[in-house]
Subunit: 379 residues, 2 copies
């Protein structure tokens, strides 16, 4: 069954990008939509401000009545206090700033400086015209967007549906080992990338049990964890081939060599992740996570910021395989490699400040090389 | 009542940093703890791996029995298939890689290369020794940390409690204006910063109603929105003075001049935010958000990455006031200012790719100046 041998990371990424696209939109309120991706452009339902409004705190007036006002010629007018943002009442067309007026005990205001028509007034629609484009399709909605939506009376909007992710843990004879580590870690990763974990199910590590589970469906993408290794362990690839199409199995990625992917008979993408925790993490980050981020309409790239930094020690890697190299930032700048995922497993992801992806064409970098470092930002 | 006039932004930040500290810890499971900040160092409960384990897929053997094995001298041994990560059974001390053994129909394995004791074995505790330090106090737990916690049998850990945030919207005579925009926006901001919105309550804009609400308590921090302006609008400061201590009112920040802060009689911090949406946003981002991030144990700084970028046009600002200047990235690099918050309110936060904070000592920057730009990363 389609064990296609080592594929380049680029080939896997191309398969994902060509065949996996954003899901359809669904309706949400602005608050529900924070962190989600807009499925449509948003337009203002009403202008902002909705009517002529005070631009600052002061006294609403009819401008012509202030003509000639000065401290030598104070003019008494009806007292209409307004705060910045208040709608002006009918007939008022200017605002006298607080410091140019003085309320008097008779309930009037004494104005000592003239104001022009429209002075200190935000005209209806100045910030946003009615029907104006507010936020574009594809934007991931942030808290700062929420205020203007309320101001422009946008109460429902279309956001990309959250991908429903089925996670199938191919049963292991090692209680407390990979199943325990991979399941909770993957749930947290899927949620970070905008997915909903529909099902975290342990399935017998047998071709038929896995194949049945993949056929069941109900998800937008399935992750099969474990059962990808060579030898007796290679159940996941066979099960996927039986349940649909095994497109790729075996990737020139370390950790993550035994990852694979394809589709079930319903065309739903299925990602095969190794059970070894570090390999599970990295085949998720590069492949499964990318697929989920694409389904959710997010940026498909790794959700870490990257920076060019200089190596303070040699980074060693093998030609022909893409390697994830955990690194630590040095107190005086630059980065140095630390014990690899092969040596200390997931502990490398805990000890590191970030990582370098050494492509398959490279055998690493001597000390003093500028490299692209993805940084963890949590300490 | 303590209207202390314009205070520098630095003075407000110093007040926050001196008096507002992380809350106490509470217990959580690793999954609940993702995104939260560790209140204590975490130590491994058991070593990883918990026993000597296969480092790769192959056949578990007693190394001495493979002595002299070669393709000319194949040695038949009991068949014990192991996958990477499997615990070795009693007495086994090495793993023959898949390619150096061949299972035979009699249920034995034919080994064609010798392996040394400990060969291809990860010894108990290689990745993590029992009791070893795993993750330090103060780390914000990320998905990549979760796997090792499971592997090391850490099932409960101490995380900083989520700050409970009371939001009091000082009632306005402008239905559909500031209350509508500020409430949902603040809820989203508080959640982003690790807080829980305990209560989003509209309160009469009267000194006594606000003062009563501030006395009620039940929160770790309260945000009062609106009622901070000069003139008849200045209820919030008076209410806080009556309910406890008004420490600062009036800040040299634009937008956000009328922000203030203090404590209620119970010592709980109270932040006064202007009701004008843009001023509400920025006094939240710089002051209230900082306080909440500190309570939650997070990095107190603005949760945006910053980059040095070059201005392609002049940025104008007033001496004596810290100004938030929205900017857009130019297609050929650099940033240019766009219509300000004073001109288009919150729409500036939507149109911008980020912002520059121009300190009160500066009157802006000519074109071609390198400036620190905080970038929104959502498109």
């Amino acid at each position: 069954v389609g064990c296609l041998g080592p594929n380049s990371v680029d080939r896997v990424l191309a398969w994902i990008d060509e065949g996996i696209h954003r899901l359809e939109g669904e309706e949400a309120t602005p608050r529900e939509a924070v962190g989600r991706v807009l499925a449509d452009d948003i337009r203002a339902v009403r202008p902002v401000p909705p009517s002529d409004s005070a631009a600052l705190d002061g006294y609403a007036v009819q401008a012509y009545q202030t003509l000639g006002a000065s401290s030598y010629n104070p003019i008494e007018l009806p007292l209409i206090v307004v705060a910045a943002g208040d709608a002006l009442s009918e007939g008022m067309d200017a605002v006298v700033p607080l410091e140019h007026g003085e309320p008097d005990p008779a309930g009037r205001v004494v104005v000592v400086e003239a104001v022009a028509p429209g002075g200190n007034v935000d005209r209806r629609g100045t910030a946003v015209a009615a029907g104006a484009a507010l936020i574009s399709r594809g934007t991931q909605l942030a808290p700062r967007h929420i205020g203007i939506l309320a101001a422009a009376c946008v109460t429902r909007l279309a956001v990309i549906r959250r991908p429903r992710v089925g996670i199938l843990l191919a049963g292991s004879r090692r209680p407390g080992a990979e199943g325990d580590s991979d399941g909770p870690m993957l749930c947290a990763l899927v949620e970070r990338d905008g997915g909903i974990v529909l099902d975290l199910a342990a399935v017998d590590r047998s071709r038929s049990a896995l194949s049945d589970a993949l056929t069941a469906g109900g998800f937008d993408i399935a992750l099969v964890v474990g059962g990808t290794g060579p030898g007796r362990d290679d159940m996941a690839a066979a099960a996927l081939a039986a349940a649909g199409e095994l497109a790729i199995h075996g990737v020139a990625l370390r950790p993550g060599e035994t990852a694979g992917l394809g589709r079930n008979a319903g065309g739903i993408p299925v990602m095969l992740l190794p059970g070894t925790p570090a390999a599970c993490l990295w085949s998720y980050e590069l492949f499964a996570g990318r697929a989920i981020r694409r389904l959710a309409g997010r940026d498909a790239g790794l959700p870490y910021r990257s920076h060019i930094m200089t190596t303070t020690q040699k980074i060693v890697s093998s030609i022909g395989i893409t390697e994830i190299c955990p690194v630590r930032c040095r107190p005086r700048g630059g980065v140095a490699p630390i014990a690899s995922f092969t040596e200390i497993g997931l502990m490398a992801a805990v000890d590191a400040d970030g990582f370098v992806i050494v492509p398959e064409t490279s055998e690493g970098y001597p000390a003093g090389t500028p490299v692209d470092v993805y940084l963890y930002d949590d300490r």
